[in-house]
Amino acid sequence: MLYLFAATHCEARPLIQHYHLKKDISQTQFQVFFHETANICLTITGTGMIAPAAAVACICTRHRPSAHSFLANIGICASNTEKNTVFLCNKITEEPTGRTFYPDMLLSHSFCEAKIITVPKPLSGRILEQNTSDRKEICLYDMEASSIYQAGSYFFGPHQMSFLKIISDNGDVQNVTPKLAENRIEKKLPEITEYLDMLQTIDRFEKQKADPKESEPEPLLEKLYADLHCSHAMRLSLRQQLRYCALAKIDYPSVIQNMYLEQFLPCKDKKEGKRCFEELKRRLL
């Protein structure tokens, strides 16, 4: 599933419309919008540093992400540049604590990259150019990214989280109206949705690849456990043995079937079961 988080409704509206998301009325603490078949869940977190962490924890506890799910935080930010583009954040610094977080940058994209500093309240006044070492860098400022990363890291790995930001101002927050925020996101919607669609494709692909049916020889197991009089340790060992056989494409069902035909199986007691298990292991390798 694709978990989207936006601070305000005006930042989320273009995405809600684009993906035809429907409001989940069972969710009362936060506004949540769903599309069952598209597998998208968008949450409006509220602004500041506490509300987004609560929103991520709440939604991800209710709808547990899989190993292939993605989280994306989309919103406006302030910056020391006028650049009218979408930024993908490669470094997130939490201003009050000085802690820094690094989402993995594994996927190709068409965005600019920048670091972002999460501040507890809106910046007022113009932002001064930031100098780091001997390099001048674009620096973004928001109020949510570090909270979303930290809360998200309980459910997602760093390769599953993306932070997409569009500049709305240079620190003159009084000019940032809901309409302006919505327009900024709307104008960049094709680029944003292209990236989000890519995340969904990868999610689907990885899910198919990891289909447990390919590697879990479950149907045979219960009968074998019983017929071998397996102890707990033998059960674990047998499960591992057959898991390997399935992955290495060893025809273990035929081997087991032959052992039934040769009347090694079923065994009459635990002692015979142990001997039979050793024979089975020998035949499988």
């Binding site: 490669n90 820094t100 690094y102 993995d104 940058m105 996927l107 001997d134 790995g157 760093p158 390798l285």
Partner: protein, 345 residues
């Protein structure tokens, strides 16, 4: 329009993380100059990136990033009792890089490190100083390419040539360069009996199935033959031997290919050993690679070391040693024995 899942991932080293302390180091600047299009991200400490929780080793290997850092603390490690010393009394290894550009499914690094990204320490001179300090006490046998593959990275990093210069000035220092690479990094080095090139070889079927991104067997053999030709002592490592269907046939074919190109009696030595790994590393590998036959093999746990069933490992090692003895003296064949507590990879 993208037509392959791999198109979604960045190329290797598309992002380079540079520690603040490493930023002004000349080696950092030289390495960065090889990647003019890379996004460079400044970091406080390499562990801020390398040791994050929840990293996916496999995906990170698909789009591996580079971290440039300054190594502090222990710079040279005493060779662990679980590593093959080849009879050297003062056996050490240096970790001037962590992780490898190759992606072998059985590699112990997958269990040892939390990340698939590659860390290169730029302060080689500190590692050299520590080596000098050890040399003031006794001769040193130093493996410099244990937790990485320096030869594969030589065109970009240039660390081997720096080690060669350093070794040239220190009579009692012997270096081992272990590699699966077919880079002829030795062409830029002055042949020396003190620099051992150790090539890890596997049957082509194992390479194709499990040693992702590595050169073919033929390329590695050809590279090893050239290294011998140029006057470097060459060691062949048939270690780890990997169990596959028809392993006997596959390993025989490999040895035939080796002996057709390399005069086995001219080799410095060879090492032989079946795959074994610590239980802690295997646990991590199984979690990271739930669909890898190597990770999911039902190994036997012998005092914390997971290995093939005794019958199988003895059969594989015996077969290999007997075949090798046809072409080379037995004293040049180092076989890993559990009793001696010698194991690695």
């Amino acid at each position: 329009m993208k037509n392959s899942k791999d198109d979604y991932y960045n190329a290797a080293f598309s992002h380079i993380y540079v520690e603040k302390a490493a930023w002004s180091h000349p080696r950092t600047k030289r390495i960065l100059s090889h990647f003019p299009k890379a996004s460079v991200v400044e970091i406080d400490h390499y562990k801020d990136v390398f040791c994050r929780k929840g990293q996916n080793y496999g995906l990170q290997h698909r789009a591996q990033n580079l971290i440039l850092a300054v190594k502090t603390g222990t710079l040279i490690y005493r060779g662990s009792p679980v590593c093959q010393s080849f009879g050297n009394a003062h056996f050490y290894y240096a970790s001037c890089m962590m992780n490898c550009i190759y992606d072998c499914e059985y590699c112990y690094l997958k269990g040892m490190y939390p990340s698939g990204n590659l860390v290169a320490f730029v302060n080689l001179e500190d590692i050299f100083s520590e080596t000098k300090r050890l040399l003031s006490h006794h001769p040193v046998y130093l493996c410099i390419s244990y937790d990485t593959d320096l030869s594969a990275l030589e065109p970009v990093m240039g660390y081997l040539s720096e080690w060669e210069k350093f070794a040239g000035n220190h009579e009692h220092l012997n270096l081992e360069i272990r590699t699966k690479s077919a880079n002829r990094s030795f062409e830029a080095l002055k042949p020396s009996s003190k620099i051992i090139y150790a090539f890890t070889l596997s049957p082509q079927a194992v390479i194709e199935a499990y040693e992702h991104k590595t050169p073919s067997l033929a390329q590695r053999i050809s590279c090893a033959a050239d290294a011998m030709e140029r006057g470097f002592p060459v060691r062949l490592c048939f270690d780890p031997m990997i169990y596959i269907k028809d392993w006997e046939k596959e390993y025989d074919a490999m040895l035939d290919a080796v002996s057709s190109k390399i005069r086995m009696e001219k080799l410095l030595d060879v090492s032989v050993g079946t795959f074994r790994i610590s239980q802690d590393y295997l646990k991590k590998m199984r979690k990271q690679a739930p669909y890898s036959p190597i990770a999911q093999f039902p190994y036997q746990n012998e005092t914390g070391v997971c290995q093939y069933p005794l019958r199988l490992s003895e059969q594989m090692e015996r077969h290999m040693v007997l075949r090798l003895k046809e072409n080379m003296p037995q004293e040049n064949i180092f076989l890993w024995k559990e009793e001696s507590g010698v194991f690695y990879e």
